[in-house]
Symmetry: C2
Subunit: 466 residues, 2 copies
């Protein structure tokens, strides 16, 4: 039982205020009262934190395609059954497996010093240890101008800047170009390896990993290593002093052929329109460096706990609520594409889809991308959840989360409960993504918002499709 008195009082007041007005909205007073009850229950419950504690502790890191990710699927099935979902299943798919292996990276000139680095997803191994000089590029624009062959025999280092901390994560996409595409320029220059300043807002000595982008069908053929912000600062200062730099680098990261992964599907079957699906979820896989608490154990916990609270109501909502624990998100949205493919004949029945995958801090905004009539429903829902400190954002904002992208491409409408992401890129894809970073009260606020929102959509007759 959690103590979140301030929020709980706000919710109670709002229940009272519903009684004062006539029921002219698309949401009935009874539904509003049920939603308020769900919020109260969520704020008092430890269920969400217990779920993410269990996942991070009992399974640990769970890289897409790994044996650990398989254990996570079994964990998801067991959890779904224990929580009383009506249908629980695993939908398998095949994927190529990339393994990080061992990395050594150190400064060699002007002196020996260990650097804190990690391979980027998709990187090739160094055949043996590379020891050679470094060519410094101030940013991705400078690297993009490299001439063919210009870096032959050398290691390219692409610097950049500390990501500015932001509620919305603004700036991440642009900064991330050096992680995504830097290797293509380095290969054009015929560099032996690329070292990249980590994309993160923290001054900790942990590198942030993450997937690179393919160039057409081609992955990088050289090692690509992210180093921490303080390590990148260090190289920049040495470079600015006019010191020639050289590094020693040995990386074993490589592709290892096809393996199995899967999505875990937990359904609360609708009482009136079971064929209509309200899809929520998070991704079950995590990067291998941390234990995937904020990315995305939190999303799994938030959406599963929200649905579990709804399952305790006397009656199932009209529509089916489906929690999808997506597999292999980090390594290319592979579970998401597999889901869209496996359900391609039924996507017209997906009423709305949304994912929680931006950490575990409080939700501050509800946005949507549905038809104008349904926008009124979302407006009403926003009023219901406003005691949680959530404001109504845009009604024409595309995107419901990374794993929803393939569904959006097929015309599935979306909403999104936007979380405060201020600390997200401090932790994201680093060894520091561990359970201690989650505030149970903030997590509970997320669950309250999801429970009320999803209940109200699932119990509605409003069509959301544009």
């Amino acid at each position: 039982m959690r103590l979140t008195k301030r929020l709980a009082v706000g919710v109670a007041l709002s229940i009272f205020s519903y009684q004062l007005f006539a029921d002219t909205s698309v949401v009935s007073d009874e539904q509003k009262a049920t939603a308020a009850q769900l919020m109260e229950s969520a704020l008092e419950s430890d269920l969400g934190f217990d779920i993410v504690e269990s996942l991070t502790t009992e399974i640990g890191p769970r890289l897409g395609g790994s044996e650990a990710e398989k254990r996570a699927r079994d964990w998801g099935v067991k959890l779904g059954k224990k929580l009383g979902f009506d249908k629980v299943s695993i939908e398998e798919f095949t994927m190529p497996f990339w393994d990080r292996g061992h990395l050594h990276i150190s400064l060699n000139t002007p002196y020996q010093q260990a650097l804190y680095g990690t391979a980027l997803g998709g990187a090739a191994p160094s055949e043996k240890s590379i020891q050679t000089e470094v060519v410094y590029f101030r940013d991705i624009h400078a690297l993009s101008e490299v001439k063919p062959g210009e870096l032959a025999g050398k290691i390219a280092f692409v610097d950049g800047d500390l990501l500015v901390k932001s509620q919305t994560g603004a700036g991440y996409g642009q900064a991330n170009q050096r992680r995504r595409k830097g290797w293509q320029y380095a290969e054009r220059g015929n560099a032996r390896a690329l070292v990249v300043r980590s994309v993160g807002s923290d001054s900790r000595r942990f590198p942030h990993t993450g997937m690179m982008s393919k160039d057409g069908d081609k992955w990088a053929s050289i090692p690509v290593i992210a180093i921490s912000n303080p390590d990148a600062d260090h190289l920049r200062r040495l470079h600015n002093l006019g010191k020639p730099l050289s590094l020693t680098l040995h990386s074993e990261s490589k592709w290892k052929g096809d393996v199995s992964s899967g999505n875990v599907i937990l359904d609360l079957v609708g009482s009136e329109k079971p064929e209509e699906i309200v899809l929520i979820g998070g991704h079950l896989d995590s990067w291998d460096l941390g234990t995937g608490a904020v990315d995305d154990g939190a999303g799994i916990a938030i959406t599963t706990a929200a649905a579990a609270l709804i399952s305790k109501l006397p009656k199932r909502p009209k529509r089916t609520i489906r929690v999808v624990m997506f597999g292999a998100e980090e390594v290319g949205l592979l579970g998401a594409f597999a889901y869209a493919k496996q359900h391609e004949d039924n996507l017209h029945n997906h009423v709305v889809a949304t994912e929680s995958d931006f950490g575990a801090q409080t939700i501050w905004q509800l946005v949507s991308n549905v038809n104008p009539e349904a926008t009124l429903l979302i407006d009403e829902i926003a009023k219901v959840i406003s005691p949680l400190g959530i404001v109504r954002g845009g009604s024409d904002v595309p995107g419901g989360g990374p794993d929803i992208i393939p569904l959006v491409e097929q015309g599935v409408p979306t909403i999104r409960l936007n979380q405060n992401g201020r600390d997200y890129f401090d932790l994201h894809h680093t060894p520091d993504d561990t359970l201690d970073k989650i505030d149970p009260d903030e997590l509970a606020q997320n669950i309250a918002a999801y429970a009320a929102t999803i209940y109200l959509i699932a119990d509605s007759d409003v069509v959301l499709k544009k």
Copy 2:
């Protein structure tokens, strides 16, 4: 040129106020005005930050007895000459060298997961890789009760708690018993290795290293590995779930025989009583994991910059000001003991001694341990530096810093400018001890306080000895 307007205004006002009162104190109005000038200069100067930037960037990590520490001594000599000290020298000594080598530590049961660990100073190597079960101890008290032979064939893990963040560092000494003495109990139990929860106030996945204590003349004969707080949390949670734990551990850390180290001595020779020495300093060595910015590049920068500012005055103060850059502090105060030994015939001429070795945050208190008449001098100095936000603390507080211990044992009086250590044990002895953690304004406040304080003692005739 730095912009610290608020502090600068405070200093200016205090200069004015000196004019209003008759000169009845042990500090003359002229001395006070000079001290105020020094503070103003310090707050406007980048010298301190430039010094610590140079040390951490151009030398990097500098473990006691290493080749890097030798480069740091050469750097110190060059710096002292460039800054115009009257005498610059290195005093060498011999010391045993402990080398960290490579470590692998991972969870093996209930599943494979890398742990973030580091060997503690003085630890022995594992002959080969150890893979065996873990016996959990909730704290050092539980471990201290282990019976002879009880841990045969096993790895002991001694848990503990997150250090509470504290301005004064209170609690560190007690918590540190598990690092210092844990191995003695583990060896009594005949454990194959000891794993220790890091002593730190941070929830980052960096382990804190540090020296163990000898048992008489004996160092540990087993590997002793500190793991980060989040890793220790993880083991605790698994243990509390009743899961049997096993680890895989391979450590190369070992003693490697005798090497040379040294102290760097920078003197501003006194104009009237050159034989009387006011000793300030920090330690030049650092742990090998970070670049030793807050521990103790900051102390080197603060004391060297303070003396350098005093050297720019038209006339040298009456007494000699000596900056000692102590070698090999982290590995057992070896430079400090060497200094006390090498100067044993002259310690009666050491008027007072103090060290800056608690990070780079602002100074909040001045304490002393001098005779009652001299206490009045320190009281006056406290008034002079009070515009920096510094209060007068106890006049009977022993200790001037770790490297001052051997001097205190020989009766040398001490003062100490106490820094806010709230963030110190987040960073201390971790890879995260890097330049970006230092706030240039806070560093400048330290230099202002040292410059005024040391100038006023060096230009005084008051005897401080008890």
